[in-house]
Symmetry: C2
Subunit: 210 residues, 2 copies
């Protein structure tokens, strides 16, 4: 399952289900080839079949087996989620398209479960893996980055605090380029350049669901 930021929302890549299936759209998938290909190899191959380029970040979401209808009547599906930089077009033909997760096309039950779990998994890993940076091109403005974080965590962030925290974590490095988009002052471009592991000890937090 491939995700990308699209217009202030997270979007998922769906492909047209091959010939007359009941569902019009489905997640890209394939049967696992035997031999010594790892699960991740297979996931990369599936991703490349629907995209002009491979995703820049890929992680397993889990195995899914319950639910009645599933692509190809397989017993078990192993789902991966991959990040694709903003603005990446889907494959040339009209056989693939991005859909916001909030207004997906009807999917088979197992695929709906996969989408939920994968989005959840991306959100969970946001603080521990460079997912946000993989959803952006190599250079980006801090407003771009903040927008991606807001999409993933689902609420607005305070600009000054965001930048302060970012600076404190030494995660980005300024380039000497600036980009002007429409009105307003041009923004400086940054690149992802993590320096050191922040020894973040401070903070006992309980965000448990009730």
């Amino acid at each position: 399952m491939l995700v990308t930021p699209l217009d202030r929302h997270l979007a998922v890549l769906l492909v047209r289900a091959p010939d007359g299936a009941l569902e019009r759209w489905a997640l890209p998938w394939s049967l696992s080839e035997r031999s010594d290909a790892t699960l991740e190899d297979t996931a990369v191959r599936v991703a490349r079949s629907a995209l002009p380029s491979a995703p820049v970040w890929l992680e397993q979401t889990g195995a899914f087996a319950d639910g009645r209808r599933h692509p190809g009547d397989v017993d078990l599906s192993v789902a991966f989620v991959g990040a694709v930089p903003v603005g990446t077009l889907s494959a040339p033909g009209e056989d693939a398209a991005w859909f916001p997760v909030s207004e997906l096309q009807p999917l088979a039950p197992r695929q709906r479960a996969i989408v939920s779990a994968a989005v959840e998994s991306v959100r969970l890993r946001l603080d521990y893996a460079p997912v946000a940076f993989r959803l952006l091109p190599p250079t980006f403005t801090l407003s771009d980055l903040q927008r991606v974080y807001e999409i993933l965590i689902g609420h607005r962030l305070h600009k000054a605090s965001f930048r302060r925290a970012l600076h404190g974590a030494s995660l980005v490095e300024a380039t000497d380029e600036w980009r002007s988009e429409g009105r307003g002052r041009p923004a400086q471009l940054f690149r992802h350049a993590p320096k050191r592991r922040r020894a973040r000890r401070r903070g006992v937090r309980f965000d448990l669901l009730p």
Copy 2:
């Protein structure tokens, strides 16, 4: 894979590998029965085969397929991690025992990967799922709870801050029982009784690995 707190460390339940395998110990496992059993059903069944009671929390870690040696020569293993309250004995016979994760018995490569991923997964979910409470009996002292958190996040916590945060999150409820263990003032017993979802907005954090 089953975990429990054991003597200030997280411990994993291993069982003696059936007859003459090279490894003496292994994670409990079984082939998936066909029919309509879900993956979780199978995981519960495996857990119950090695424990006097079912684990009180269970979650899928993921699918594992790489690595040469794996139990029973299966192509793919779906791993689950389950929490077992502190002090639970392993199954009656001498065929199962708890081992601290830091000093495990030699395991097959795939099983080592599963243990690492499962422990990591428990740590990741600590703030979002009631794992810590599932590693304790229904009532517990706040020192017990703090000890579990310290085991899972890997470092000591500040007592007053821990209790303040706990109180703020309305996660526990005092009982009118007290327990005296050896010397020292007896501790009040609490139970897990989450009240409401804390609207935790404060906090932009970047704990990204470099």
